[in-house]
Symmetry: C5
Subunit: 173 residues, 5 copies
């Protein structure tokens, strides 16, 4: 990405101004909350001239190939999954997770996975709040990794950050 | 696919009219409902001149390689699996799911997986209805992804769609 | 395989008569029933001049690489596994299943997996009967896929076939 | 291996006498029994001039890459793992098992996996006996596969052999 | 690594003095203890002129690709994960573990994985102590493997070493 930008600059300053980060957003019709909206708000506010590539699939098992497809063009991606409450749904979550790890290892790009589990909250209100907050917080994580690299989050290493629920903080000896 | 179509057009307009989308359908002899029939009805009604490639295997663990084989020619595929009620059957489901994710990531093509679990309904009537409806709804998902691309389903993102059971709808804040 | 046969025919009719399908059979010393015998009986009766490639390994986790090895020469393979009753045995079953899916996807060839679970029957007599019948039925499935291709089993799609236990039949609406 | 040996022979009979099978042994510091010792005793007694390549890692999740590394030179390998009693330990066992299947499929070489589970015996005496016997029996399996090929164990197919516990024998109809 | 060092030496002894081992450290903002600090203390004390490459990600499922990225430059890596107490957290642990095995097999380099499970101790004090000790002990394991190779830990094979909890020792017959 950086190399592309530099090469671009060397050729034509004007055309190069058009270049920017490109971020994929993969979501599902199965999800019960539109998590792409808050994620995009965070991303467009934080990354000027960012190019968003949307991809919507039916459910979580369709996410890995969609992530792979958006990463053909995007520098990184965020995936917004929703997982049912049954044991079989959890197996689907596992298959998706293994698939996303595979996609990341093969492409060498981060895919930040936001998943909300139908059974992690007692009410729809709480599920909604978790989904929106988790999407926002992880969108910010994605932006940090993309724009600041692998040490961008290092100041927060080991500090017990959470997404969608309150941070739990560090334990000190 | 698109490139093939254009090349074809350049050579011979007449022969090219024959070209169209090609969709694989993989099903099993283990399944207790013929899900290929409703899936094909939806597909042929929605995609003119579509070429259907059938592949039938014994059970779900045979599905991933069959999907891989039909994708040698097909643009996308739908798989119609049936999963028993025992814990071992669920492990087979997991292995199949990981395999299908792998096939999709390696080919860069979608495989929409329709699975019915023997234990998800209380009666054979209900299982039948779930199987047929799920096959139809996912066939439509497949068609949308194939003909409209990754943003074809975006209007329904986060809207709690289900297949085989009633949609649950969005949660709003 | 077919292409090989045709090329052979073009060169020398006589030498070509020697050519035939080649099928791998992978079994284990852990299994308590010799499932290779009934499988081979079905195969040799159904496929004239078939070449059988035997490979015996200690247990199920050794099966995937053995399947890979026989597929270097064979057109397809059948694997005959036996799984213990403990939770750890089931994890081994899962690892083997994922491995076999991988082998199939990488080679583009079917590996029909016959597994008998120590805990799926109440008596040794029943386990024996299941093992022999399952091996026979799946050997026939293998032969059909090999000689008739992906639509060979299509007449039985969705018809609730089982192996080792009675068929359960279709559910109709 | 065989091809190497023949090529060697053609060049220099004397130098070639030095060539022999090469077997990797991977074990862990987590294990509570030195299983490499009995395994090596069996191997060196059964395979003249064998070259042993040792590799010791902290725990079972480090085994797959170590197996991959020794197989860069070795013809085959035996891995000697020890698994704790908790559910998380079993997940680590599963990850290791999938990894070893992957290594074998990628290299086309057998890796015989000996694992002892902390919770499979009631006393340390019994665990010790299981570990030593399992390592010996599987070392012999490895030697048979290496020196006699895929049909070396075929006379024992389906005969209910066990390692570390008494053989259970065949079930006959 | 060694080859690089030799090549370097041949060109310029002075510049080459700068070369040394390079070790990646991957940690998370989810973790509640800064495990990188004790790990780095052990590493810098044990490996003169070592180059540390830091990479911090949100949670454990982001670790495999980060490990892959640091291994583009590093000779080996240590990953410092923190796993929640719920069943879904354990599936994430499994996906991460399979991913790390994959990364290691593909790169041929060790990634020593330090994971602390939120539910493995009764108090925060104990969790802290486990985290710090486990990070230190495994950092030492990493250093030994890197500087002494596959036989560096062989003197401790089968001796029941633990990290974060007391060693349990060997069982002798």
């Amino acid at each position: 990405m950086l190399k592309d930008a530099m090469r671009c600059w060397a050729r034509s300053k004007a055309r190069c101004m058009m270049m920017a980060y490109s971020i994929g957003i993969v979501d599902t019709t199965f999800a019960r909350v539109d998590m792409a909206k808050p994620a995009m708000e965070v991303i467009t506010r934080s990354v000027p001239k960012v190019r968003i590539i949307r991809y919507t699939v039916p459910g979580i098992k369709d996410i890995p190939v969609a992530a792979k497809k958006v990463l053909d063009e995007a520098d990184t991606a965020i995936t917004l999954g929703w997982v049912g409450a049954s044991p079989v749904d959890k197996y689907s979550y596992l298959a998706m997770s293994i698939g996303l790890v595979l996609v990341q290892v093969l492409t060498g790009k981060h895919v930040i996975d936001v998943t909300v589990h139908e059974d992690e909250a007692g009410s729809e209100e709480e599920l909604y709040r978790i989904a929106v907050e988790r999407a926002k917080k992880h969108a910010l994580n994605l932006v940090t990794l993309l724009t600041k690299g692998g040490e961008g989050l290092t100041p927060y290493a080991g500090s017990g950050l959470r997404q969608g629920v309150p941070d739990v903080g560090s334990i000190r000896g």
